[in-house]
Point group: D2
Chain length 106, copies 4
């Protein structure tokens, strides 16, 4: 993941874009890209979707997510593992198994 | 990243949630989490934001993004590098340097 | 508002699009349009934004929101007034005045 | 619609919230509410969704959309009719009938 982040930072710095990349606008950018991914699925079933478009939009989401992680100096592995642990408490296996209910409805 | 994806899949399979995780709903989930991140910044400047909340919401975005990548068997590093290359063509340094304009306005 | 909804339904029915407009995909469409609005503001301050673009994206949000309201036979005035009442209880003037805090932090 | 907007402005002004309601943050708020609507449909089919939740989240979207329209002094009916006209050119009946394709794929 280090390599990915370095490549993204190089791309950004070559273009002098750090000035625009404050954390709030990076959060906006993730939302914009997430919705472009969503648009690939709009009015369709998952099986009818163009895989290459999914690939491109998902790559954009990862790109901005990595840039925001870098901005806060988060280690992606650490924060995801931390969240998995927390979610494990909100969704204990014996209650959450086989249901899509939210934790406050379990 | 392999380790992250394996931990996420284990969490999901322990709860028998694969049945809900079709690609379209994973795209929805990414949008829901992206907007929860956005909400952390709502009505605020980036500097006044709670860092721990950013961490948690960003972790959720990564989690669903990795699960969707796994669903399509995308290698995250590959797809981000591919996109960086493509964006390099859309945003050549000499045109894009120092401006936040979209490629179709450059 | 009746006139707006009738014009939107005529547009849709002329194109035989009701088959695609299930409630879930209408919710997706609202998100896609909301993010296009968000993109107008990306990397910018509100004062530097193109007013005509805001107008178009906001119109799209209204269009899908009216179509979803019609799908459930909601009266827009009724549901907004109902929500204002509910929000008045969550955000009583004496507590909420002058602060952007969420109700659970008041 | 005038009545709705007046009620929303009164609610906002009673709480002294205009200071937070710049156009950019209103666009964020619309996205946050749109995603809360989306979450109602997450992992579900439209028919299994709680109608009252849809009603509340849709009301929130309308509320912020009306506030943003007011901020720019847009007449909602005018801008939606303008957009319908424009979309009629992008999606002529003879080409768009019965297909969910985007205009650039027609």
């Amino acid at each position: 993941m280090k390599e990915i982040i370095e490549a993204l930072l190089k791309f950004r710095n070559d273009r002098d874009w750090e000035q625009f990349h404050n954390a709030k606008d990076l959060a906006l950018a993730i939302n914009v890209e997430a919705a472009e991914l969503l648009e690939v699925f709009l009015w369709k079933e998952a099986k009818d979707v163009n895989r290459d478009k999914v690939k491109e939009e998902l790559a954009d989401i990862f790109a901005y997510a990595f840039l925001l992680a870098d901005k806060y100096q988060f280690d992606v592995k650490d924060i995801v593992f931390e969240k998995i642990k927390k979610n494990g408490e909100k969704y204990p296996v014996e209650k959450a198994k086989g249901t899509a209910k939210k934790y406050d409805e379990l």
